[in-house]
Amino acid sequence: MRIWIIAFSVFWSVCSVSQTRYFDSDPQLNDKRLAIEFNTELYASSNAISNQFLYGFISGGEISSSTQEDMLKNTSYQNRLGVDFNTGFTVHFKPENQNKISYSFGIHDRQHANASFSGNALKLLIDGNKQFAGEEIDLSEFSFSMIRYQQIKAGISWKYKPGKSFHFSASFLNGEQYQSAQMDYLTLYSSAYGDEIRFNGEGTIYQSDPENRGFAKSNGYGASIDIQHDWELALGQNQNGLLSVALNDIGFIAFDGSSHKQEIDTLYSYKGTQLGNVILPFDTSYTFIGPDSLAEDILKKKDTTGYNIILPGWFRVNLYQQFENFDVKAGFQARFNGSHNPYFYVESKYFLNEKWKLGGILGAGGYSNFNIGTSVEYSTDKITLQALSQHLESVVVPSRLGGLNVQVRAIVKI
């Protein structure tokens, strides 16, 4: 039975998660020269994995059958899952007598998981193969990847013309771990009597050194850049606006030779142990093999080799407009190299007073289908505190919908 885990439990082999989505702008230093920023962001979203299942998964122990059943009502033909967990510190500073250029230096821990899977694959994982007795189910286009790396980032912001500024940062990346399973073709046949299970598949599994895992452990190195351009907009008097176009996390990591690559190209049929004519020789001895032995049979080829991976980068367009008592932000985000759908959102904050802002978010796309969120901000000359949460709809219907997000940012200006 563990064969299902081998194939699919990789969904969950990440324990915490990440993504930068909203707090992607540099803090306004204004008349300050130095700002210290801390942010942490947890994001998990899926159009198929429900919050209730996710809760059971994270908290451990047995997940009830009703949780399984409710979740499976929500599956589509093709499904998505994305998980991110980012934590980092950044120092921003502006040299003396210099108002057009500022610099930043930061250290971040980045984790990301992405999965794409068919509805049948999820049903198979959650409910077993009995429901498919007598059928050959298509599990193709299954993919999963999980990466964790540490980032040392140096950046510059240059207001090269009034109303126009350019931001660039370059990062050195320490590749800590990477796991990936990509099945180009995969079918599973379970016979009507249950006496045969037949896999037919082609794919590749990558795995960095499993013995060398943990924060700051190194299995490879890489680099990335971030590029952003801002145009200030003025729709009316005292109404600040901004248009930003950005490319983030454009880079790669080269994992070293201790990483494993396993190619799957097999048509494998398992009918149990062949006893032959058991009535023939007396005292014949048979050995029943376990699923691990089965998995070794299925994974035909195992290479140890280094490989390069491309980071799941972002393309973002944000439009911001501030009005007298509120502001509005709308945007579009696309993520490369994953199952993330184009994401559109609109956010508005109401200014309760000079220090407090309260906002709401509506979004569509991404890893889920839609998103409802809220934010709160407390800001003074010296301190900015921001908190944001999305996927509140999954809090309301946790048995059917899946997604959770919380982001916290604290900035101290000196």
């Binding site: 885990i5 915490s16 451990g60 077993g128 009995k130 249950g194 149990g272 004519n277 005292d283 699923p291």
Partner: protein, 536 residues
């Protein structure tokens, strides 16, 4: 409120990364897991040497066995015999000159053949041991001849010179002479006796020696001993004797069938008695019984041969081969028409028992002393069985024991089975229905559990095509074995499984032919509710 707390809990757990401290997440799935497949062919349990497959794939059991044999050389035994001829003077002194014969005679030896009156024997193996002794103070020449013992036309002859001896230290010499291949006339010197040959001996001083004077203390002697005489051929009258037969012969033709009744529609036994000896035999078979040593069932064959004496005439001494004989044969065909052979076979005999007498020369010496026998020939009784597998079976019990082991990884996996069934899918071409049971046994052969706890599993018989009177479509039957964690543990504690099947033909009492293409295909499938654990 509950939903909010759940949401907060998720976030806190994820942020604090404390999931590692908790149990691994798990959920229940329903799975079909192929466990094993087996193809049972009852006919394969019968050795190829014990069956024949016909053109229409019908199966016939073939069995050939020797029930009893008696070699004639065990009938005619020639015991070791010894005789000493000695010379000495009673009183005074006698002068012997060189070359002087001082002792010579012709003597007859009786071989004391066991109850036989032999007139001629050809020796296959045998030794004459001659011990020569002399105190004569001059070399002595010993001569020993058997005129009626010839080999390649030459009589047996022995001559040897013994060196001079003294009264205190007589000269002694022993010679062992091979007499194999000699033809010995056993009618004596005057051709009027049996078991008797004669020898001619002579002792004299050597011509090249000195004259000597002997006293009563001097002597010379010749001892002849016939030892290990085994005839290659014997002729004479072998006597009138009765030998008891009480023989048991094991048969493995029904080795795997432990009990039950098998009723073949037909069976044919051929009892063959062969006499290769030149002597008449009378055979009185009191009992030919088939015994099932598993059940204790026994049945006696009821046939002419078990009710009457059988006279078997002597073989003829002719032909060009060796031995040049034409055996005398007696064949008795025993079938369902003239006997109870089907019932006899039906008890699944593991052993044939034979009780009776064999009488030698029941009519006396009607050959006038011309009985003959060659080495290695004799009297033997064989049985050939042909049993077409066309039968009906009632409560036929079939058993086998198979060792197995389950690896430790599997054991870890099966700990997560919450319950379910072991499905035994049977696809049966045999026209046999029955009940199945399996027992799990540990290494000490102690039964620790059974496959079916409440009821035995039912196996449906193959579907008979009435037009062809044979099974053309497999029956499908599924036996569901409820699995509990306790039963699974017992399965792991077991190292052997003992299968037990009680079978009945589908449409008894009519007989059905068994064909070689019949088989019983069994698929063992786990229908498990399984706790799937994310192995993080």
């Amino acid at each position: 409120m509950l939903r909010i707390s759940l949401y907060v809990t998720i976030i806190l757990l994820a942020l604090t990364n404390c999931r590692r401290e908790l149990d691994a997440p798990s959920w229940d799935v329903d799975g079909y897991v192929p466990l094993a497949t087996a193809n049972l062919r009852i006919q394969d349990a019968i050795d190829d040497s014990l069956k024949e497959i016909g053109s229409d794939q019908e199966i016939t059991l073939i069995y050939k066995s020797n029930l009893f044999e008696y070699k004639i050389d065990s009938l005619i035994k020639i015991p070791d015999t010894s005789r000493t001829e000695s010379f000495s003077i009673p009183i005074g002194q006698v002068n012997l000159s060189p070359g002087q014969v001082f002792m010579a005679d012709t003597v007859e030896n009786n071989l004391n053949a066991d109850n036989a009156q032999l007139r001629l024997a050809i020796v296959r193996e045998g030794i004459i041991e001659l011990e020569l002794q002399s105190t004569m103070n001059t070399p002595t020449i010993f001569t020993y001849n058997i005129p009626n013992a010839t080999k390649n036309g030459v009589s047996f002859s022995f001559i040897d010179t013994l060196s001079a001896g003294t009264q205190q230290n007589p000269t002694t010499e022993t010679r062992r002479l091979d007499i194999s291949g000699y033809t010995i006339d056993l009618t004596g010197k005057n051709n009027n006796r049996t078991n008797t040959f004669y020898g001619v001996y002579e002792i004299r001083t050597a011509p090249f020696g000195n004259p000597i004077t002997i006293t009563p203390a001097d002597f010379a002697s010749l001892t002849s001993t016939f030892t290990g005489i085994l005839p290659e051929y014997a002729k004479g009258y072998f006597g009138n004797r009765i030998f008891e037969i009480n023989e048991s012969t094991e048969t493995d033709i029904f080795r795997n069938f432990k009990s039950g009744l098998l009723s073949p529609a037909e069976a044919r036994l051929n009892l063959r008695i062969k006499n290769e000896a030149g002597v008449d035999f009378g055979v009185d078979l009191k009992t030919v019984a088939g015994v099932n040593t598993n059940t204790g069932q026994s049945i006696s064959l009821d046939h002419f041969v078990t009710q009457n004496n059988v006279k078997l005439s002597r073989s003829l001494e002719s032909g060009s081969g060796y031995p040049p004989i034409r055996p005398s044969n007696y064949n008795a065909v025993i079938d369902e028409q003239n006997s109870n052979v089907t019932e006899f076979v039906g008890v699944l005999p593991k052993e044939f028992q034979l009780v009776g007498d064999v009488e030698l020369n029941p009519l006396g010496n009607i050959s006038s002393g011309n009985d003959f026998a060659y080495f290695g020939t004799g009297f033997e009784m064989n049985i050939d069985a042909e049993i077409p597998l066309r039968l009906n079976a009632q409560n036929l019990v079939f058993q086998d024991t198979t060792e197995f082991s389950i690896d430790s990884d599997s054991r870890e996996d099966t700990k997560r089975i919450n319950g379910g069934y072991l499905l035994v899918h049977c696809f049966n071409l045999y026209p046999i229905e029955g009940e199945l049971q399996g027992y799990f046994m540990d290494s000490t052969n102690t039964v620790v559990d059974s496959l079916f706890t409440d009821d035995l599993g039912y196996l449906a018989g193959g579907i008979i095509n009435n037009g062809q009177n044979r099974v053309t479509d497999k029956s499908e039957s599924t036996i569901k074995v409820p699995l509990t964690p306790q039963k699974i543990d017992n399965l792991y504690d077991a190292s052997k499984i003992w299968f037990n099947a009680k079978l009945n033909t589908t449409n008894q009492p009519d007989s059905l032919t068994f064909y070689d293409n019949y088989d019983l295909n069994i698929k063992l499938v786990g229908d498990f509710n399984y706790q799937l654990e994310a192995d993080l």
